[in-house]
Amino acid sequence: MELKVFYPQENPLQRARARLSGLVSFLLGCALALPQIAWSSETPVRQSGKPSVSFQEFTLKNGLRVILSEDHAAPTYSICVTYNVGSRDERPGRTGFAHLFEHMMFQGSANVGKGEHFILVLNNGGSANGTTNADRTNYFETLPANQLELGIFLEADRMRALDVTQANFDNQHHTVQEERRLNYDNRPYGRTAETVLDTAYDNFAYKHSTIGSMEDLNAARIDDARAFFRTYYAPNNATLSLVGDFQTETALALIKRYFESIPSQPSPPVPDMTEPEQTGERRKSLEDAFAQAPRIDIAYKIKQGNTPDWYALRMLGHIMAGDLSSHLYQKLVKELELVVSVSAAPDERRGTSLFRISLVVRPDKSLQEVERFVHEEIERLKKEPPADWELDKVRMKFRRQQAQELYSSLSRANALGHYAVYYNDPDLINTALDKIAQVTKADLQRVADTYLRESNRTVVTTVPKSKAATKG
């Protein structure tokens, strides 16, 4: 789960069209800055070979990690600064703070006024956003190639000298509380994910949600923000990734000019991520005022991301419920008509992750029956491996997905930052796919056996409020 500083809405031009296709996604405002514009007569030429991302790494004197990936396929570039801080670094009583702080990063700095960040980026043809999850916080812009200096300047200015004022802090307080209401408190199943985390985890780091509680958001103080900035928003706690249409030398010189004099800080405290082994099934049921159909969420504690077991679980999840030919979809949605939707996948965390199965059950069907089928399916997977074609289809699926993701400079910049901060290995952008491809049938059986056990399981059921009341 990742929170954004705002949700881009559809571009009016796109809206004006009679609706192209749900399969085609696009970035709003992802655009090019044109003081002046002229048509060129370039024509596309065939490019071949396996898609891969080449990059160079540097470390500035103040500890800032810099990853540059020059690519002239399109006249744009993306910059992403990934800070090694997320909601796992929060302390009790201050949940939601990492994300609230992320909002403050758009409120102005020494040389950028309040509200000016978006104006500068959007009016020069770009897009910008910031996101926070449990393990990291990132900030990014996509801009036309001729505005290289602008993106570097904007990121450096706020890393060097953020302008935290009481008025802005109060304002973003409200904004984040509305974000919480919109996405959690005013919609069906809004509290389900929080309940799963709270029930499954023992360690505070992942036990609480990134959005945080209303009480804690209310308790946040401006002094907390200043201290948080000093501790975590230091160059030695960040990775800058830059991908797209620039000359590496020029870009590096600009990055040095704007970033290198930002002083480093003592290393921030490393959060304790130890998670005790679970010794028995945990169950919880909650009532939901808005849900119209009950939902079952089953979570198993698993290893952190980028481990052989995690990749095997990724493939297993896809075989279980990743597409229309998957086991649970065919069985529970089509054949038995018990559920409306089903999903199964591991989340990716730097510490103990969760393999999550989620099912929206038809209002007239039995939750127990649905759950029993899921457990039976898991037991079967432990004994009988999936067919060869199923492993092949998942490999094909991820290959296609990756090719699509590598298309945009922004997803490459974000992925480089992600892999650098999570695993200290940005080259995973090229090698993660092989790690999924190498998963064998034996691996699938092994991880099903190791992790998908009753004693390692958390089951949360969400039932519509009125129903619960009549059941008494």
Binding site: R19, C30, A31, E116, F118, V176, A293, M396
Partner: protein
């Protein structure tokens, strides 16, 4: 100049020291930079943005000219009358195909069969004369391809899409053709689909956004087919394999359709294949006549959708505005962008950045074959419903009553043009532009001239279209939230009609 390789580029911006090199367009676009982009240390005094925005104007900005390549898809017609657009783009080893069936949209559904177009579209994958639903699912998943179709309410078309890797294009496109041309609409599968649809009918009522859209469209369009946003229990029950078969036979016609393909293909190789796969498809050109235009409301009305336990009020205000062929489309784009087009627009800066009422406030408009809605809205905490609604109307009146400053206008236009130009990098978007041009009979050079048209929009134009198409006195206001708390507030804004979350009017 950079030593960028010429070649592997779909759309390219190049920077020239002089605008003379870039011809007419560059000269027109100079209007956008009549005011210098970057004046160090000077505050822009003509800006009328909310006072909470502070401009330090210290960021380094480039003023170089950019050259943009607008790729043009190849156009062809198959023997059966199907129009084909092909855009070559070899940056990715994949292909996307979109078939726009321009007579198979929900707008043409009989009143009592809402959902017929959508059900037909969704049932295509559930069986052909050669393949079962499960075989289709397995075959497409093995090939790593995505195939599906959908029909949205209010639209004249069903859109069928197929995409996958280019290396096995022939294999997945053959399956897609079978699905498109020879669906068998098995009764058992249809019954399953209907049961799933009934659960979805119920589920959608949990969403404040759905409830707002349902009431808003009804309020604006009344009995016009565009007022329909959902099927009903009765209309779903009425669907039969025969009705779907008939809809498919009569309305999926090659002569009324356009197939758009983008990606790793070449037209000369693709066209013979399309003849092979789709050549047998027959069907006469049918009428695409749409119902008479909706009649705009003459008075303001407030609709409260009571959703107990809500902690926010979901606000939508708006009225019927323009169709896609309107002369005022371009100034409307600029006006709307300035008012509510994103995080640098007035609504966001006022309701979020200044007041802290909401996570986001935006406006948008839809322009199709018939005049569609312009709308503005925000989800706000219940306690500030009054203030938020007041500010929405304040911003609407402000853009009508006072002329926008030159700087704000220039920045807005620059942002619109920039957004357009960057979209050209994405083949699907380029195809989208070509399709829009075809569907609405716009001039051949419509998109070539689009930036110049945006540049020509004046402050007077913005004020004129705001005055002409936004009608606050006759706007429809929809509020979804906790009725007990917000009803007295809403009454200050007009006569209130109350509905429950099932869509039924409460006296």
């Amino acid at each position: 100049m950079s030593k960028r390789p010429l070649g592997n580029i779909l759309s390219c911006f190049r920077f020239h020291p002089s605008s003379l090199l870039s011809g007419v367009l560059a000269l027109t676009m100079a209007a956008l930079i009549a005011r210098p982009l970057f004046v160090s240390g000077q505050e822009d005094s003509s800006s009328v943005r909310p006072s909470n925005v502070e401009r330090k104007n210290k960021a380094p900005l480039s003023t170089e000219t950019l050259r943009v390549h607008l790729p043009k898809p190849v156009e062809a017609k198959l023997a059966n009358g199907l129009t084909v657009l092909i855009l070559e783009d070899h940056r990715l080893p994949s292909v996307l195909a979109e078939l726009h069936l321009r007579r198979a949209g929900a707008l043409f559904e009989p009143d009592n069969l809402s959902g017929l177009a959508s059900a037909t579209a969704q049932m295509l994958r559930e069986g052909t004369h050669k393949r079962s639903s499960r075989q289709i699912a397995e075959e497409l998943d093995r090939l790593g391809a995505s195939v599906g179709a959908g029909a949205s309410f209010g639209s004249i078309e069903t859109v069928f899409t197929a995409s996958g890797l280019s290396e096995n294009f022939d294999a997945w496109f053959a399956v897609a053709s079978d699905i498109l041309l020879r669906p068998s609409f098995p009764a058992a599968e249809l019954n399953q689909l209907k049961e799933r649809a009934k659960v979805q009918l119920r589920q959608q009522r949990a969403s404040a956004g759905f409830l707002a859209g349902e009431r808003f469209n009804r309020a604006l369009f009344g009995g016009h087919p565009a007022g329909v946003v959902t099927a009903t229990l009765e209309s779903i029950n009425a669907l039969t394999p025969d009705l779907l078969t008939k809809w498919h036979r009569e309305r999926y016609s090659p002569q009324n359709s356009v197939l758009a393909v983008a990606g790793d293909v070449s037209p000369s190789e693709l066209l013979p294949k399309l003849e092979k796969w789709l050549g047998e498809w027959r069907g006469a050109r049918g009428s695409q006549r749409i119902p008479p235009n909706p009649v705009p409301a003459s008075a303001r009305k407030v609709y409260l959708v009571d959703r107990p336990d809500s902690v926010q009020t979901s606000l939508t205000v708006g009225n019927i505005a323009i169709d896609r062929r309107s002369e005022d489309f371009v100034p409307m784009v600029v006006m709307n962008h300035l008012l509510g087009g994103g995080p640098a627009a007035r609504l966001f800066l006022n309701l979020r950045e200044e007041k802290g009422y909401t996570y986001g406030a935006y406006s948008s408009f839809t322009a199709l074959q018939y005049p569609g809605p312009w709308r503005a809205g925000a989800d706000v905490r219940t306690e500030v419903t009054d203030g938020a609604l007041t500010e929405l109307f304040n911003e609407i009146r402000r853009i009508q009553e006072s002329k926008v400053g030159e700087a704000e206008l220039a920045e807005t236009k620059r942002s619109v043009v920039a957004g357009f130009a960057l979209a050209l990098e994405q083949p699907a978007r380029v195809l989208g532009f070509a399709l829009t041009r075809k569907f609405y009979n716009l001039a051949d050079d419509y998109w070539d001239n689009y930036p110049a048209k945006i540049a020509a929009v004046t402050a007077d134009d913005v004020q004129r279209v705001a005055g002409k198409y936004l009608n606050p006195e006759a706007m429809q206001i929809v509020a979804v939230g906790d009725g007990r708390k917000i009803r007295p507030i809403l009454e200050k804004f007009g006569a209130v009609e109350v509905y429950d979350s099932e869509g039924k009017r409460i006296p």
